[in-house]
């Protein structure tokens, strides 16, 4: 049978996929792909800080990512720079600062590749607890803010006018984004987390005609990607993160066939 570490990775991956499914849909709907990327890049800084101060990695990543999100909101208010420039600025500078800090930490042996691309060997029982408890919390909170968040995604003014308080929902969603990055960083690695968020959701968009369906297909897509990715990672001895994302891409390509057919039907 399989080794324990593989079972752990599988359980971890499945937990992550349940959360990235619905969050990924919002990332696509709200056009937040690069925002997710920026948070993920800043996660490296969080990891290094965790090592320096012997702190829990997930918690440290969560704090740093939330902080970067806050800084972004402030910069958007105070400067005249466009959003994508600010995102690029924060993403690359936090990545650079993170790498510089690693340079200083010569006394710790760092698995940079594992950090960037995920490492199934590294998933511990503690990580599993963090992923599942954190994941369930994220999903519960998302369910609570679903209505205002979704309504304001469709149209901000309608949501605001009809008393749904979209600003609060948006702020909470930002925190949820930081949280999912924090709990999934070990699985997929920080360079590929956004892929885990958007590729299954993009696949789901191709085969759905309602928001609910898109969320469900996005979860299913994520689960399949994790299972296929991890098994091939074991089989071909490839890094886990890239294998999972490659599997997601494969599913996306298959979903494109569905679009072709429906366009043909329309004509």
């Amino acid at each position: 049978m399989f080794d324990d570490f593989f079972i752990r990775a599988l359980v971890a991956g499945i937990g992550v996929a349940f959360v990235t499914g619905p969050l990924g849909c919002f990332v696509i709907w709200r056009r937040l792909s690069y925002f997710g990327d920026t948070l993920a890049h800043s996660a490296l800084l969080g990891v290094t800080l965790a090592f320096t101060m012997e702190f829990n990695i997930a918690l440290s990543v969560f704090i740093i990512s939330s902080l970067i999100a806050l800084i972004l909101i402030q910069l958007q208010k105070k400067t005249n720079l466009p959003g994508d420039a600010l995102l690029g600025l924060l993403a690359h500078s936090s990545l650079a600062v993170g790498l510089v800090v690693i340079g200083f930490l010569t006394f710790i042996r760092f698995d940079i590749m594992g950090l960037l691309f995920g490492d199934i060997l590294a998933v511990t029982v503690d990580d599993l607890t963090i992923i599942w408890v954190g994941g369930i919390l994220i999903l519960l909170i998302l369910k609570i803010i679903w209505k205002p968040l979704f309504a304001s995604t469709v149209n901000y003014e309608l949501a605001e006018a009809e008393g749904l308080n979209p600003d609060k929902a948006k702020a909470i969603f930002t925190i949820l984004m930081a949280a999912i990055i924090a709990i999934s960083i070990k699985m997929v690695g920080l360079l590929l987390i956004t892929g885990m968020l958007i590729i299954p959701a993009a696949m789901a968009r191709n085969i759905s005609d309602s928001p609910q369906k898109m969320v469900i297909f996005s979860i299913i897509g994520g689960l399949l990607s994790v299972v296929i990715g991890l098994f091939s990672s074991l089989e071909f001895n490839t890094p886990s993160g890239p294998s999972i994302i490659a599997a997601a891409l494969l599913l996306f390509i298959i979903s494109l066939l569905n679009i072709k057919q429906s366009i043909k039907l329309k004509n």
């Binding site: 056009r31 149209n155 003014e157 309602s210």
Partner: protein, 248 residues
């Protein structure tokens, strides 16, 4: 004066400026239950802005807005929906409030678009979408309806029917309506109170008062004021089948 229990929203000397330019200034008005208040004015006179202030969409405003209800239905003038979202008409109907299937069906039937219920929002025409927007706003049985040019792009017969529907809803639900319209005829016939805007309140009052107002005439021209006179005229007598004219 005792507090009027019927007031739904009250604007007291409100205004908003963006980059040191006033969009509207010094607007006072109130919407009461079972009353239709209409904002008229030329393009850029701040009608939509005033409506958004009343709805609480703008935060940094001058003056005071007192809102006494949370049951609000809003039909915005412009709505841009991102098609990255797969959204059917029935999903859109429950956007801000969960409704049962029956209520959705009823509202869509009232505005004449029940056949579009399962359709994707991106496949609708402008007029169809406008009818869906109106259906969504009334389906939640609001106490306050804010309608920003609710019949734009709707065909001529539909326009009349929808205005009649709006009037009927106002009576049935006992709700107050803040209406923005360019159709002076409708404004003058179906409205209880008219506020004529041009960056500030030019004049306000009953349709009759406003039509007589000189500032209104200056804004809309002599002809506009005659729309009303003609209408009023029609109502003080009836034409009998024999062609005689009978006073009421």
């Amino acid at each position: 004066m005792s507090l009027n229990q019927n007031i739904l929203v009250k604007l007291d000397n409100v205004g908003i400026s963006i980059n040191d330019k006033w969009l509207v200034k010094g607007v006072s008005l109130q919407v009461e239950k079972n009353k239709i208040v209409t904002l008229i004015g030329p393009n850029g006179s701040g009608k939509s802005t005033t409506a958004k202030i009343a709805l609480g969409i703008y935060k940094k405003i001058q003056g005071k807005v007192e809102k006494y209800t949370n049951k609000v239905g809003y039909v915005p003038q412009k709505i841009s929906i991102d098609w990255t979202l797969p959204l059917r008409v029935k999903d859109f109907m429950t956007l801000t409030e969960s409704l049962d299937n029956e209520t959705i069906t009823e509202a869509l039937s009232l505005t004449g678009v029940i056949h579009l219920k399962e359709k994707n929002l991106s496949d609708l025409s402008g007029g169809e979408f406008q009818r869906v927007l109106l259906a969504r706003a009334i389906s939640k049985k609001p106490e306050l309806l804010v309608l920003d040019e609710p019949v734009q792009g709707v065909d001529f017969t539909g326009e009349i029917a929808l205005y009649e529907l709006i009037k009927k809803i106002c009576d049935e639900l006992n709700c107050g309506i803040l209406l923005i319209s360019h159709d002076l005829h409708t404004v003058m016939t179906a409205t209880d109170h008219v506020v004529c805007l041009n960056g500030h309140v030019c004049c306000s009052g009953s349709p009759m008062d406003v039509a007589k107002n000189n500032e209104y005439k200056a804004l809309f021209g002599e002809q506009a004021s005659q729309i009303l006179t003609r209408y009023e005229h029609r109502h003080d007598h009836i034409h009998t089948e024999e062609g005689e004219i009978k006073k009421n």
